[in-house]
Assembly symmetry: C2
Homo-oligomer: 195 residues x 2
């Protein structure tokens, strides 16, 4: 069975976006390199360093399904109506949006909570990994001990305020550094969650 | 003239200590290696990796004076009555402790605030760098645009709560990665503050 991974770009002071959901400062490294990097499942192309491109390609190729939250879904405008990275995409929500419940919808809505969503994503992913997104979803999954790996793209900026990635964690969680990759304008660090 | 540097060990979620000032989880890397590393100005010896020892030796050798805060001074019990790293040590406080105001005291107390303390430390450091410690002092110095470099020893742990390093920063501050060093149980990242 695959692992459950959380992957985020985060500012040095712990934010994934500013108070207005603006990610331009934390995502600056997405245009800081000289290698074209097409974002899977979209027609967007980033410009990142070769080291970052190799790291992301390897990391993302391990994914077999995605779990994320309703906020992520809404803020991104349903990712233009396409499944994330062309993978089975599970969205945790109490109120599934009716317009996306039709036959052939790229999204599966899970109303029974994060654990159920991860379980369904695991089944869909088979031997591959499950990627978990959405800060609140990740926090719930961390509290429930469901995250095996945390991949952080550490952005060289202090935002001062915004949407905090690691929050509402009542107990310390020890990690183990698995890998550090120096990109241009970013430091990639992959951690294993010690259980 | 030297630079003004802030150096801290910080958890991945941004804390330098837990709510009870306990640093055992963030400082775990201080005993995770196999190289003896005597802490300058003390009789304590850490066990860290060769990479960390080389990095710290090089970084600390650039220092010519220290500025820190009253909380740091009190929590550490005046560092056993010795100047930090045997360097001129300036402590920002509104109420200098009378017992340390005698001739030959290893400490200089500055009542005119952080800027004044950094100015005096710069003068004492000459061509060398000034190290700034104490989270509130660093936050004040960052807001005043007085910090040139931030050296973070990123500890692989999520504390969930505690004393936050980067807090009370009203505006985003952009950084530039200068150097990344992989130690055992720690990732050292040195940033330049973009002004």
């Amino acid at each position: 069975m695959g692992k459950v991974m959380a992957g985020f770009t985060m500012s040095l002071d712990g934010f994934v976006a500013d108070p207005n959901d603006d990610v331009s400062l934390v995502f600056k490294w997405y245009s800081a390199g000289d290698v074209d990097f097409p974002l899977p499942g979209t027609n967007r192309v980033f410009k990142i360093s070769q080291a970052s491109a190799d790291y992301l390609t390897e990391s993302w190729s391990t994914l077999g399904a995605i779990v994320t939250g309703r906020r992520d879904f809404d803020v991104s405008n349903a990712w233009g109506g396409k499944a994330l990275m062309d993978l089975p995409t599970f969205i945790v929500t109490h109120h599934p949006p009716q317009e996306w419940l039709h036959e052939g919808s790229p999204f599966t809505f899970v109303t029974e909570g994060v654990e159920a969503a991860i379980e369904r994503a695991r089944a869909a992913a088979g031997e591959k990994n499950v990627g978990v997104g959405g800060t609140q979803i990740v926090q719930q999954a961390l509290r429930a001990g469901l995250i095996d790996q945390i991949d952080i793209d550490l952005a060289p900026v202090l935002l001062g305020a915004g949407i905090r990635l690691f929050d509402n964690l009542p107990e310390p969680i020890e990690l183990e550094i698995q890998r550090v990759v120096e990109g241009t304008g970013v430091t990639h660090i992959s951690y294993r969650v010690v259980k």
